[in-house]
């Protein structure tokens, strides 16, 4: 089976200018390699500054890697033209921590959902409205909110809307970058269940997006994904099946995350400054 996404020796450096005028460069991603098979659920976990969000931005074609390659269905993104990238971007959807920032505040829910269809499909307005209502149903939102503005929705409703919009173009990969972290636990549970439903193995592979769940919340990650990638200082330090890694963590960073999530102190271990 062809890998959906394969990342090979990915490096991303940011350069900035210090007040003194000296150039500084920060290596946010360092030789990152992994493969995503269709329909799989992978957690990417790590402490702040470990490079998780940079990785998400590179995968969603929002940032250009400094070196290394990202292949989507066998095609290296680096060598694609802008118009070819336009065809790939809809298939890789990104949901952020704060969905309020992602929506145009003067748009109604319907306008938010139908925008990608206006750009990418030939659906007429009746069809778009019908599909928008269907999509809301899939994420557990009532049809009556179609005419509301996103600012009138609660945090949990907005995050469901963000997921609905990400699903609008039937992506192959759904990347969630701390998408649950700002929500109350009772709302997190509802949206986690939604993600479990979307990635239910009983759904045919073609209709089921792969999920990359990027978070520092190891507990929720362990609950809703099958594989884990642990990052530290821009590198992958451990990866494997979730349950195995949870039982026998090999790397100190993984153990520190497990300890933090279990409420055990791990202050004897000093993390490198980033």
């Amino acid at each position: 089976m062809e890998a959906l996404l394969s990342v090979e020796s990915l490096v991303k450096e940011y350069s900035s200018r210090h007040l003194s005028g000296a150039r500084m460069s920060v290596r946010a991603l360092d030789q990152v390699s992994f493969v995503v098979q269709p329909g799989t659920r992978i957690a990417i976990v790590g402490a702040s500054g470990s490079g998780k969000s940079t990785l998400a931005a590179c995968l969603a074609c929002l940032e250009k890697p400094s070196s290394g390659s990202i292949c989507f269905q066998g095609r290296n993104l680096e060598f694609l033209s802008e118009s070819e990238l336009q065809n790939i971007r809809p298939q890789v959807q990104l949901v952020f921590q704060d969905p309020a920032m992602a929506f145009n505040p003067i748009f109604t829910v319907l306008e938010i959902l139908e925008e990608p269809w206006i750009l990418q499909t030939k659906l007429n307005s009746e069809e778009r409205k019908e599909r928008a209502a269907e999509l809301l149903g899939r994420v557990g939102l009532p049809r009556r909110i179609l005419d509301r503005k996103s600012a009138d929705l609660s945090g949990g409703q907005r995050q469901r809307l963000a997921i609905a919009r990400a699903l609008a173009l039937e992506p192959k990969i759904l990347i969630l970058d701390e998408a649950l972290s700002a929500l109350d636990y009772s709302v997190q549970a509802q949206i986690a269940n939604l993600l479990l439903d979307l990635a239910d193995p009983s759904i045919p592979l073609a209709a089921r997006p792969a999920v990359l769940f990027i978070t520092h919340d190891l507990v929720m990650a362990a609950r809703i994904t099958d594989e884990i990638i642990v990052m530290q200082s821009g590198r992958i330090v451990e990866s494997g099946p979730m349950r195995e890694v949870m039982r026998n963590p090999a790397h100190m960073a993984t153990r520190a995350l497990i300890a933090g999530a279990s409420g055990v102190s791990s202050s004897h271990e000093k993390r490198p400054a980033v």
Partner: protein, 327 residues
């Protein structure tokens, strides 16, 4: 014995622009003894931040106080004049927030920002202030203290910035620290480090801490006592170990089960749904006739929608506002 701080039947409403009101706190009472860590557990809109800010008589402009008192060693903060309050804030009761980056001045070295607090509240000279801040930073940052002292906020990590905010809050040796979601923007490893620091300050300085959070797992092994809030009311209150292990109020029980636990995940397949609390978050624009949780409660009875239950003693030694236990 007189408690360090006591809130009596405090009700706070917010006036909204459309003319409506939000009932943020409804006749809430609480006591904090000196040197005690009290955890306030609640979700968005439960009134936990309003409660925390009320301990400093710090209300937004659209807040209206509908009765109640906030007594700091017997003195009602709600009746103090502005300059009297300014003396209390920062020197006897102080506050830290979720995002310390916002509270710090971006172009001033953090060490000097801590000294500013001493300047405002004491008559110490510059050299004495510096000595005091340096020794405080030594105890918090160890060998890094000197570098941190001279740093600007953007040169520090989120965890370090939160420690600076804590240093600012305790430099005048207050007896109570209000910590409103101080670890919510930090990763789990840094969260633990901040909790350890707070615990150490409690022990070394006999500092009382009101720790406001939605993250229930942080309270385990950290708080002495826990109060659970729902819709502007305290619904359960008791020893932390008992409330978190044997919750009695149906809301506390539901809240605890919707957060997965790592131990369960390690040992069993988990592809089934996570339990959720059915229904929507409470609408605070109207006063509830009965228990605010009743519409979502699996054990709802006739009386629950008729009046709010009083506190009753429950099996876990906690006080619970639920008709299951009397009321």
């Amino acid at each position: 014995m007189e408690p360090l701080l006591e809130v009596r039947d405090l009700s706070v409403r917010y006036q909204m622009r459309d003319g409506g009101e939000v009932f943020a706190l409804s006749e809430t009472s609480l006591r904090i003894e000196s040197g005690e860590i009290v955890g306030v557990l609640g979700e968005s809109g439960s009134g936990k931040s309003t409660l925390g800010a009320s301990l400093l008589a710090m209300f937004p402009r659209n807040a209206a106080i509908h009765g109640g008192a906030v007594l700091l060693q017997g003195k009602n903060l709600l009746e103090l004049k502005r300059n009297e309050l300014a003396h209390v804030r920062g020197s006897r009761v102080s506050l830290i927030f979720q995002e310390p980056g916002v509270a710090l001045h971006p172009t001033m070295r953090v060490g000097l920002q801590i000294e500013e607090v001493l300047k405002a509240h004491t008559s110490e000279d510059k050299a004495a202030r510096r000595r005091e801040v340096r020794s405080l930073l030594d105890s918090i940052f160890g060998t890094e203290a000197e570098r941190v002292y001279a740093s600007y906020p953007h040169q520090l990590s989120g965890g370090q910035r939160q420690r600076i905010a804590i240093a600012q809050a305790i430099v005048c040796k207050p007896s109570l620290l209000i910590a409103d979601e101080p670890t919510a923007s930090l990763d789990s490893v840094t969260q633990r480090e901040i909790l350890e620091l707070l615990k150490r300050l409690q022990k070394e300085r006999n500092l009382a801490i009101l720790f406001i959070t939605h993250a229930l797992e942080l309270l385990n092994g950290f708080a002495d006592r826990v109060m659970v809030m729902y819709a502007g009311e305290i619904v359960e209150e008791g020893e932390a170990a008992k409330v978190l292990r044997f919750p009695q109020h149906p809301y506390t029980q539901a809240l605890l089960t919707c957060r997965p636990r790592l131990e369960q995940i390690k040992n069993s397949p988990n592809k089934a749904h996570i339990p959720v609390i059915p229904g929507d978050a409470p609408d605070l624009s109207a006063k509830f006739l009965g228990c605010a949780f009743a519409p979502r409660c699996p054990e709802k009875m006739q009386i629950c929608s008729e009046r709010m239950p009083e506190f009753s003693n429950a099996g876990n030694g906690a006080k619970v506002r639920c008709f299951k236990f009397g009321g």
